[in-house]
Symmetry: C2
Subunit: 284 residues, 2 copies
């Protein structure tokens, strides 16, 4: 079997705009690009994604993967993105069975920050088995530092979410998008295209997801679906994210900046090295 | 005609969790609550919203309003929220015409941060006519200061978006939720229940939306739909948000902290008082 053929559609990631600051002074700022990409699967319109547009082919492939519409990259023959018309044409090798039914099901749990992915995925949560994984505190600090040093659209334009996949302290891929779900979907597509599987990771060099966004239920579920047992964020966690991480034993680490962090769940997945932390602080 | 009867379902907005910090010290933190609320309209399941749960009845009413499923509050007879089963039962006076068709349409533009509301709303953007409105820079500073002083779940637990409606410098309502769309929808519901209309606002005391989140296309469109011509955020703006705000002449103000801000679009809607700003800074 062969991997899908992908175009390499490119587009500007930032755009300059004229603004007026509080002194009434005109300035030129960069803002992140944002464009709509309508996905057609075998000529049937599936969804419209609002995206930064950095890696649209990986995004579409990862979206199909994380929505459980395709089970392996080989099922996809090609993904052709054309920014002229804002369209991604997906051709499958043998179609997606019951696609109407499986996509129609989602309409009852639709909306941004309002249900969407959650409904369909919760059913699978209990079936998830996470790999053995133990991250050293020093590796965690290396991850946070790598993100700090990473050149990004965020640094130049702000207003995007960053997401990265690490193996131990090594950054494998870094993706930004206007939506954090797009960023994690893009990584899912990248993993398939690069044959990166979490199945045979060394327990002492586990796969780790980093996100600049909150640890929501969807982020936790998507990470677990991709076999990643540790998720790190500079932000906090929501109750559903916390409940699901605790339920499936996923290690959720938040407020990770410099040498500070909170381990919300599964602390047994961290190899604690408190001597690497900064000077003790007041608890609370 | 009478307003809908709403229950006043209440639930805890924060939850305490045990965490371990970088020193290996156990601490107790508060995180925001997050619960799923499945909305049934005349016994038909419509959508599942993930929400903080502060004002679920206003959220459901505002969701129906902003999704254009009901045109006036009088169309709704009652909204009954029961957290025991995570359900909101909406009873309409005479049904919602073509509800299957109008909700099914959204399936092609579904997904969190991935199209959702956008598809259906863009059609209406060009039809939107914003009211005459001019906000004084001093009023803007009063808004930013009021938000700074506002007690919030964010301050105690983080990880929620805040949204507020102002009339001039006066805060009318402040709402937080795990999703910023829920927050703005809740305000839409509050406006209907309190008979607050943007139709007859004084141009020198305009309605203003404040959001802690980014100025995305959905936020700009929803504000415009509700007749609010100015939107303020402590965050930045996305390209679609910028393009739509510029197209419809909505004044989008971002990076608003202390006395600093950027006016991205429609600067003519601000009464500039640069003498109120801090000492001049280097441009760029």
């Amino acid at each position: 079997m062969s991997l899908p053929h992908l175009t390499e559609a490119r587009a500007d990631l930032v755009r300059e705009v004229e603004v007026t600051d509080e002194h009434g002074v005109r300035q030129t700022l960069q803002i992140p690009a944002e464009r709509d990409l309508t996905v057609y699967v075998d000529r049937r319109e599936l969804v419209t994604l609002m995206t930064l547009g950095a890696r649209p082919e990986w995004l579409v492939l990862g979206y199909l993967r994380n929505q459980r519409l395709v089970r392996s990259p080989e099922e996809v023959e090609s993904i052709t993105v054309d920014w002229e018309v804002g369209a991604a044409a997906v051709r499958t090798r043998s179609g997606i069975e019951r696609i109407e039914e499986r996509t129609a099901k989602r309409v009852v749990t639709t909306g941004c920050g309002q249900g969407s992915v959650f409904g369909g995925l919760m059913d699978e949560v209990n079936a998830l088995a996470l790999p053995e994984a133990r991250l050293a505190q020093g590796q965690l600090y290396a991850i946070v530092n790598a993100i700090r040093l990473q050149e990004s659209t965020y640094k130049s334009a702000g207003s995007v979410h960053g997401c990265a996949l690490f193996r131990g302290p090594e950054m494998l891929v870094f993706v930004e998008d206007v939506g954090r779900h797009n960023a994690i979907d893009t990584i899912a597509g990248w993993m398939w295209m690069h044959g990166v599987s979490t199945d045979h990771a060394r327990p002492d060099e586990p796969f780790v997801f980093y996100t600049t966004g909150r640890l929501t239920s969807e982020m936790v579920i998507k990470s677990a679906q991709m076999g990643v047992a540790l998720v790190v964020s500079r932000s906090g966690i929501t109750q559903m994210g916390h409940a699901i991480a605790a339920q499936i034993g996923l290690c959720a680490i938040g407020r990770a900046t410099n040498r500070h962090f909170y381990c919300y769940t599964a602390p047994e997945r961290l190899l604690w090295q408190p001597e690497l932390a900064s000077a003790p602080r007041q608890a609370g």
